[in-house]
């Protein structure tokens, strides 16, 4: 009981400072962000959470990361690393005004889904003879996910008035969204793992995941070429 409670607490704390994935802040929300002047904690919390729950590239990556993680300790470790990477670049990106082409950043995020699916197929060990450090990879892709969002937020005109508090609120909102998304994904995965065919279809599932990553990759690269 105590161990479970500690796990849950650690989980919540580790997730606290997370940032968001890299997708469109919808048009109407964008007009809100643009017209906001001054501190608006509630709306930015909501936008952050909504952003995470509706960001399919982010959700696909999370499914890939926790696909073979069974122990709560492992999940907490990986998600914390992802969170750390994510938050770092979201905050630094917005505060320093550094940005990149959002199509290219989103293409890298799509590639992270393909990478993780290939990793789950055990592809790296089979073809390279070793498995790249999975924790490091999750951290680095976390940096890209956060940077993508920082770029998106900066495309909107953000008032410097209350900027830090608004970005922090957004960050915390993303965190809440991530906990919700993870819960849903975990519940789904746990049910499925009880099924005796889970492992038999693991390869097929990761193939589907990889296809999703490739679709997003093609979508973003086309967008980049068209602009």
């Amino acid at each position: 009981m105590v161990r479970t409670a500690i796990c849950v607490l650690f989980f919540a704390l580790a997730l606290w400072p997370c940032a968001a994935s890299a997708h469109n802040v919808s048009k109407r929300d964008a007009s809100f962000v643009q017209s906001t002047r001054g501190v608006a904690i509630g709306p930015f919390l909501y936008l952050g959470a909504k952003h995470m729950l509706t960001g399919y590239d982010h959700l696909l990556f999370l499914v890939g990361v926790i696909f073979f993680l069974y122990r709560p300790k492992d999940i907490v470790q990986y998600v914390s690393l992802f969170t750390l990477g994510h938050s770092t670049t979201l905050l630094l990106g917005v505060l320093t005004g550094v940005r990149a082409n959002s199509y290219l950043i989103d293409a890298v995020i799509a590639l992270s889904v393909v990478y993780k699916a290939f990793d789950n197929m055990d592809g790296f060990r089979r073809f390279l003879g070793f498995e790249p450090n999975a924790k490091l990879a999750v951290f680095i892709f976390g940096l890209f996910h956060g940077f993508g969002l920082a770029t998106k937020l900066q495309e909107l005109v953000l008032s410097r008035n209350g900027l830090v508090i608004n970005i922090l609120s957004f960050n915390v909102g993303v965190e809440i969204g991530q906990v919700l998304a993870l819960s849903i994904v975990l519940i789904g995965l746990s049910y499925w793992r009880m099924h005796k065919n889970f492992l038999r279809y693991a390869l097929a599932t990761n193939t589907a995941l990889m296809a999703g990553g490739f679709i997003l990759l093609g979508y973003q690269i086309t967008g980049y070429l068209r602009q």
Binding site: G38, V114, M121, D122, R126, F127, M210, A211, G213, I215
Partner: protein, 237 residues
């Protein structure tokens, strides 16, 4: 406790199966993923998102119309309001009288209003003063600040374009970088709505803004700390 035992059990299974897929199986899976992605991308995603439809599947499924609506976001080039301000026509005066020039003023049924106020903005504080005006109505304005202040001159039409949110506004002039210390001019409302300034004191000191206006507006809207207050303008003596 039973769940922990169960989890450990599955983990052992998973480790056993991780050794499972062979090189051929992985290659095949990757190839299948790639082919599925390319097919979906070209038949569905590209037609729907960008209107690129090489296989005509988008047209067949009616997806390309989706791309058209997405590609042209509504707020561009909307609210075209013709201000009743006809072309300037000069007619020669008959019998040595003065030439007549038409279309140089917009007549109004009522007297104009005046407003004069001093606004103090603390460090990091922003506020708005806006005037409700009819399309085509005019206003002369001057404001000065005791140090540079960031601002935006903008309007919020009463009738927003379709698809526009409640926070829709149109920008006339802004400086959110360095700021300025004064602005003077004559303004003609492009549409019926509230027209005015947002000032944003991004400095560390208090800034005083002195604003004077005269024009055909019916009320003043102050927005400070997200509290909107309706203020009454004065009649000129």
């Amino acid at each position: 406790m039973s769940t922990i035992v169960h989890e450990q059990g599955t983990q052992q299974n998973s480790e056993a199966s991780i050794a499972g897929p062979t090189k051929q199986q992985i290659l095949k899976a990757t190839g299948v993923a790639f082919v599925i992605a390319v097919v979906i991308l070209f038949t569905v995603v590209l037609p729907a998102e960008y209107g690129i439809d090489p296989l005509r599947t988008g047209a067949a499924l009616g997806l390309t119309s989706l791309a058209k609506t997405v590609a042209t976001p509504a707020p561009a080039a909307v609210s075209v309001t013709t201000v009743e301000h006809g072309p300037v026509v000069v007619e020669p005066g008959a019998n040595g009288e003065a030439p007549i020039i038409k279309g140089v003023f917009v007549a109004q049924p009522n007297r104009y209003k005046i407003d004069s106020r001093e606004l103090k903005l603390g460090p990091g504080e922003g506020m708005e003063i806006k005037y409700h005006m009819q399309a085509g109505a005019g206003m002369v304005y001057s404001w000065t600040a005791n140090q540079k202040i960031q601002y935006e001159f903008h309007g919020e039409p009463d009738t927003k374009p379709a698809n526009a949110g409640p926070d829709y506004f149109e920008s006339y002039e802004k400086d959110d970088k360095v700021g300025i210390t004064q602005s003077n001019g004559t303004f003609t409302a492009p549409s019926t709505g509230i027209e005015g300034w947002f000032w944003d004191n991004e400095s560390g000191d208090e800034v005083t803004v002195k604003l004077v206006t005269a024009g055909f507006y019916d009320y003043i809207l102050q927005n400070r700390d997200d509290i909107k207050t309706r203020l009454q303008p004065l009649d000129p003596k």
